[in-house]
Amino acid sequence: MFSVIMNTRSRIYLIFFLSIGIIFLLIAIVQNQIEHYAIIKDFTGPQIVDFLDTYTTGFPRPPFV
């Protein structure tokens, strides 16, 4: 399935970056970083109104939002 056509330098880079990626993913899991992004789940919460400012600044927002 794999063609052995990558040169050694590329293979070392690949293994290095994959390893760093896995280590960072494990650190993110241990630190429970996913919770930081869970804001998006509760889209009606008061926090999201602030979050949406990024997209909606520049034109008037109606009072009911």
Partner: protein, 309 residues
């Protein structure tokens, strides 16, 4: 005899499908992923899942986080973005820029726009390479800006960053044309219609909104004439993923023994102007999105998408 004629008729009928089989498969994948990424329309829930695509996480129907927005969102809160960086590292190392060509919603929009019948323009190779650095400058600028916002947030008491205005959470999303298309314009129209005031409040528009629209119009006009212009020159996600193209597991491979006619049909078909014939084996260009247009164009079967190690 009749059976043979029938077979011939069928093969003539199926030829266009056979000639564009990768494009057909890719379009199907793009439509399905567009639906899943906008899954709130179909009742799917929003998830804290990060994908390396260009799409506003705060979009009205968005189900996932864009990795570049997630990166900014962590940095501006004084955190090291382990999760976002790991997604870039893992997806980039395994798939290269394949997500740009196959699942990115704005990539799909750019492909649709490229069907507008205008004479497509090409830029010279040095210009193409130089313009690719615009995205790199953008990435550096945005990351530095996010670090400054994050540092000011961490050092302020109580923690606040309101002084940074609309870009306090994700600086790039305040002018990002993708956010403008999929989020800003939607909210503007929805709230405008609900409040019965579309156009009426033109005097209340702020500079940022004009800037957003100007950037969007500029990018759209560019895409009409230069296919995938945003992808290859400006997209920050594309720049980061492009870094991994040199050694990603999934990638394009050319077999020079099969490439005998010397035609440059593959290079002509490539939407991002990769100099395919200048490569001996692996096509490791930073701009290549593994879209497979070159595979469809090559009549000699010299190109294929393959797993490399």
């Amino acid at each position: 005899m009749a059976t043979k004629q029938k077979k011939n008729k069928i093969s003539v009928f199926l030829r266009p499908i056979d000639e564009h089989r990768i494009r057909i498969i890719r379009t199907l994948v793009q439509v399905i992923s567009f639906g899943l990424i906008n899954g709130v329309v179909f009742g799917l829930g929003r998830m804290a899942v990060i994908l390396p695509i260009e799409y506003p996480s705060g979009g009205p129907f968005s189900t996932v986080w864009s990795a570049f927005e997630a990166l900014q969102y962590a940095i501006t809160f004084g955190m090291f973005p382990y999760l976002a960086v790991s997604i870039f590292l893992l997806v980039g190392s395994i798939f290269g820029k394949t997500s740009c060509g196959w699942i990115c919603p704005f990539g799909a929009v750019q492909d649709m726009i490229s069907y507008i019948p205008t004479k497509k323009k090409k830029v010279s190779r040095p210009t193409n390479k130089s313009l690719g650095k615009v995205g790199l400058v953008l990435v550096i600028f945005i990351v530095v800006m996010s670090v400054i916002i994050g540092a000011s947030w961490a050092n302020s008491d109580p923690h606040t960053k309101t002084a940074w205005g609309a870009g306090r959470d994700m600086p790039f999303s305040t002018v990002d044309p993708v956010s403008t298309i999929f989020a800003t314009l939607y909210y503007y129209l929805k709230w405008g219609i609900q409040g019965d005031s579309v156009g009426a409040e033109i005097g209340q528009w702020e500079f940022l909104f004009f800037l957003r629209l100007a950037v969007l119009i500029f990018v759209l006009v560019m895409i009409v004439f230069y296919p995938r212009a945003y992808c290859r020159w400006f997209c920050p996600t594309g720049v980061i993923l492009g870094f991994f193209s040199k050694f990603s597991i999934l990638g394009m491979k050319i077999n020079k023994n099969r490439c005998t006619s010397g035609c440059d049909a593959c290079e002509k078909a490539c939407p991002v102007q990769v100099p395919i014939l200048s490569y001996d084996k692996n096509i490791t260009d930073k701009a290549c999105t593994n879209c497979g247009e070159c595979i469809d164009a090559c009549k000699e079967g010299a190109l294929k998408l393959t797993l490399r190690f």
